[in-house]
Amino acid sequence: MMEHEVELLKLIEKNANLSVDKLAKLMGKKPAEIEEMIAHLEEKKAILGYSTLIDWAKVANEEEVTAMVDVKVTPARGVGFDKVAERIYRFPEVKAVYLMSGAYDLSVSVRGNTMMEIGRFISEKLSTLESVLSTTTHFVLKKYKHDGIILEDEDDDDKRIVVSP
């Protein structure tokens, strides 16, 4: 991948809201060149989507619960963990699935409106899958930082004096 593609990706990874014009100015390129780069990166699926990081705790009546579930599975012959991972990640409640080293195999992040809802999903759907041997569920109590962003950064105003040498 070319250097300026990496630069572009880093910029929009931090802020997907930057306009093409602004990206062009920041990178010292023409808007058309940026559009072309983005199209190319989307086509080869280096860019998979543009999402917004929302603190749902701040939105009334929209509180949500997240659980991290450690899942032990029996890998299937020939396809290893991929087949069972797919069975799991196709559920819309599942927000992330990672294959892990260590004491368990898959780390599954599940989101729902209530603990009950998540509990039901795990007992009825997840743990009943044929190749799932066991699950251990950890509920998230508070989010401090997500994907590099600090959620409650109360004191981030500029502390510099207005004019200095």
């Binding site: 100015k25 010292g28 004019v163 040498p165």
Partner: protein, 397 residues
């Protein structure tokens, strides 16, 4: 009480920046492009390392010249990045900011009546620091048509039998001008011919965006006549820690240590620990900040030119220095009216020297969001002025 002031202090001119600061500080909702320091908070690992040192009880003085581990790191860093060879034990001194290094260096070499050359537009502290050291500042005015680059003939013209030294600042505050090796070498030739000492302020050396940096003492035969001055404020976002350093010939550095031991004892210990971490593990943080400054430079320079303020691309530091002549205003008028009307603070160019008149300094060490808003506001301001002063606009285009 004024009769009690020393003549030297009474004669010092108040800083033009100070005046502007007082004005801006009274206003709300100001977007400041007037700040000469990074907008980034010091990288967390440096802060955390300083906490750790404090917890361990490192709360006492260090050696006068600074902790030997830190001097070793500085020496290694200069070797690695600038091919400079300085001995940690007698060619490096850790100071309270580059500011103190400048003061110490001047007091070390200046006798009453000695002239020291300053290249304007320049950092505001050089001229007063020379006067306070008992020297006579002699200024050179670089030209806008040379992109404010110092020319060897200009040094020749400024030299008298009393010339002792020259202050260089590369990249330059306030212009962002960056001199390459090819541009420094002819200056070195004149400096050698006239046997001058060089105080080379390289505090912005890490903040260069297009070409490789050449440290002045790495030029042939310059090391023995150069005091290199730098620090952690800009590159590592550590202004408030007050930590800098100087390197140079052992005789000069040990003379600086002599003044330092009587007037300062040592640089702050907790800051020295943070700086040690910066040099050991700070490269990625530094690189991330440099990448971001470069993008913002590209952004502000193209925005200023779009607005109608002619702005060449500065090679380093975090300042853009656009011409405001098309508006028909003086630098001071421009800065004051912009502040009053649009609440954007910039620094009028004339505070950095007479040839800064007609220019303003815009610091781009500010978040993109703020920069963007500042450019919108400046656009409104400038458009009105250009409509009013079409003659000026045409004359300067």
């Amino acid at each position: 009480m004024n009769q009690y002031l020393s003549k030297q202090v009474a004669d010092l001119k108040p800083s033009g920046i100070r005046k502007f600061f007082d004005l801006a500080a009274q206003m709300d909702d100001v977007i400041s492009l007037g700040v000469g320091e990074p907008d980034f908070v010091t990288p967390w690992t440096f802060i955390e390392q300083s906490f750790h040192a404090l917890e361990q009880g490192y709360t006492s003085y260090t050696e006068n010249a600074g902790m030997i581990e830190l001097r070793e790191q500085i020496s290694g860093y200069l070797q690695k990045h600038y091919a400079l060879d300085y001995q940690p034990d007698d060619q490096v001194i850790v100071t309270v900011g580059a500011s103190q290094a400048i003061d110490l260096a001047l007091r070390t070499i200046v006798n009453p009546g000695d002239e020291v050359i300053v290249v304007e537009p320049s950092f505001v502290a050089y001229v007063p620091a020379i006067s306070l050291a008992g020297g006579t500042p002699v200024t050179i005015q670089t030209k806008a048509e040379d992109a404010f680059k110092l020319k060897p003939e200009q040094i020749e013209e400024a030299i008298t039998p009393n010339t002792k030294a020259i202050m260089l600042c590369n990249p330059n505050n306030p212009t962002g001008t960056f001199l390459t090796k090819d541009e420094l070498e002819p200056l070195a030739a004149v400096i050698e011919k006239h046997d001058l000492i060089v105080l080379s302020d390289e505090i912005y050396a890490e903040l260069t965006y297009d070409e490789n940096y050449t440290s002045f003492p790495s030029i042939a035969r310059m090391k023995e006549r150069t005091i290199l001055i730098s620090g952690f404020s800009k590159a590592f976002a550590m202004t408030g820690w007050r930590l800098g350093y100087a390197t140079g010939p052992a005789e000069l550095i040990s003379a600086m240590v002599k003044i330092h031991q009587y007037t300062m004892m040592c640089a702050p210990t907790m800051a020295q620990h943070a700086a040690l971490e910066a040099l050991k593990n700070g490269r990625q943080s530094l690189q991330d900040m440099v990448d971001s400054y470069k993008q913002r430079r590209n952004f502000i320079v193209s925005s200023l030119n779009e607005i109608g303020l002619d702005c060449p691309n500065p090679g380093g530091a975090f300042y853009a220095f656009p011409s405001i002549q098309a508006t028909g205003l003086t630098s001071a008028e421009f800065a004051e009216e912009l502040l009053q009307e649009e609440q954007v603070a910039v620094v009028p160019g004339d505070v950095f020297g007479a040839n800064g008149e007609g220019y303003i300094r815009c610091s781009y060490a500010t978040s993109l969001k703020q920069l963007d808003e500042a450019m919108e506001r400046m656009k409104r301001f400038v458009t009105k002025r250009l409509e009013k002063a079409p003659v000026h606009a045409e004359a300067s285009n």
